[in-house]
Symmetry: C2
DNA sequence: GTCTATATCCAGATAGAC
DNA sequence: GTCTATCTGGATATAGAC
């Protein structure tokens, strides 16, 4: 068994550095030189591998989108009911907001239109559509109360996503999984007390 | 009565132009020259009035924050119950997302940290806190089911804010007020069908 | 493929006439 | 207070040695 530590490949180092910097400061406040320094590579290598700053962003975009797909698939393939699937998704998102903050931040909190104007809005991409489809299916099967598709998806996931944003902005100071149980209750049961 | 059309004051023209451009392209993709052209003023005037690009952004930030405060106050001073206040807030936000898109976009959809790093996150500002306080008060008075403050606020407003984001990103194609009634029902009643 | 050194461009900001 | 012309820094990107 090899004992020597294999250093991360150069692409990975560049992408990881860029992810950290982009999330921390925002794409436009990061120069290629910043990425170069943090990744301990030369400018030349960056242009060789990614063709430029926007190339890095695009690679990151698809990398992060893929991570989101993995997350959603990991829940989908359990073949749980719709509600339980949504709960698992929210739990995963909450946990990964703490453990892999920058991935979640880049996926859910970055304004890609401002630096990747060609790409479609990330919420129209596959994993996000899959989340809405889970809700939709739950409605079709009577497990979730029927409603407009957008309203239903926003009601189920909107609270969680809102809390993720507030957490990433530092407004919420406790780790999100703390709120998991309470959030589920509110989401499915609603906030109203007297409905007469 | 004066018949001549009073031209907008120069500050207003600059701020309006900047708001449009910042929302459309993102702060960092707009140059001072762009603002200057759109507002039909000279660079010199801009520096005279706002001291620079960041000065414009800061003035806009407070202007928009003030607009949000007006919106929240307009609901608060009606002294409705907590639930009805929240509903009115959501309705106002939905309507203004259509009628004054850029104000709402700059308030709820811009990443101020990326160009005004000194300012606190907008969600910690007065009008947003007031929204959370309305929910809190509703819980204290038994009108809203008690829950964690963050969870409650995110549940009540998260769905609406999520839909505003999707609308601003062009993912939702119908005007938001269309969804108002359905959203309220989901929010207060919850999405679960079988709660046994 | 990786590096350093350099070219080029453009944005933010200023100077100074009017 | 408003304007035009200009300066300057810093960013992206390239050239060319190794």
């Amino acid at each position: 068994m090899k004992q020597t530590v294999t250093p991360e490949p150069i692409d990975t180092r560049i992408l990881n550095s860029a992810l950290d910097l982009f999330v921390e400061r925002g794409y436009h406040n990061v120069s290629v030189h910043d990425v170069q320094r943090q990744a301990n590579v030369s400018i030349g290598s960056i242009y060789n591998h990614f063709g430029g700053k926007e190339g890095i962003a695009k690679a990151l975009y698809y990398h992060v989108l893929n991570e989101m797909e993995v997350l959603v698939n990991s829940v989908a393939e359990k073949n749980l009911g719709a509600i339980e699937s949504c709960n698992q998704l929210i739990l995963q998102l909450f946990e990964q907001t703490e453990s892999r903050r920058n991935i979640i931040a880049f996926a859910l909190h970055a304004k890609h239109r401002e630096f990747l104007p060609e790409e479609p809005p990330i919420c129209s991409a596959v994993p996000f559509k899959a989340m809405r489809d889970i809700v939709q299916k739950g409605m079709a099967q009577g497990e979730i109360r029927p409603s407009d598709p957008w309203v239903a998806a926003a009601t189920v996931f909107g609270g969680a996503i809102r809390m993720i944003h507030l957490r990433l902005d530092g407004v919420i100071e406790q780790p999100l999984p703390t709120f998991y149980e309470a959030l589920l209750e509110s989401t499915w049961q609603g906030m109203g007390v007297n409905q007469e």
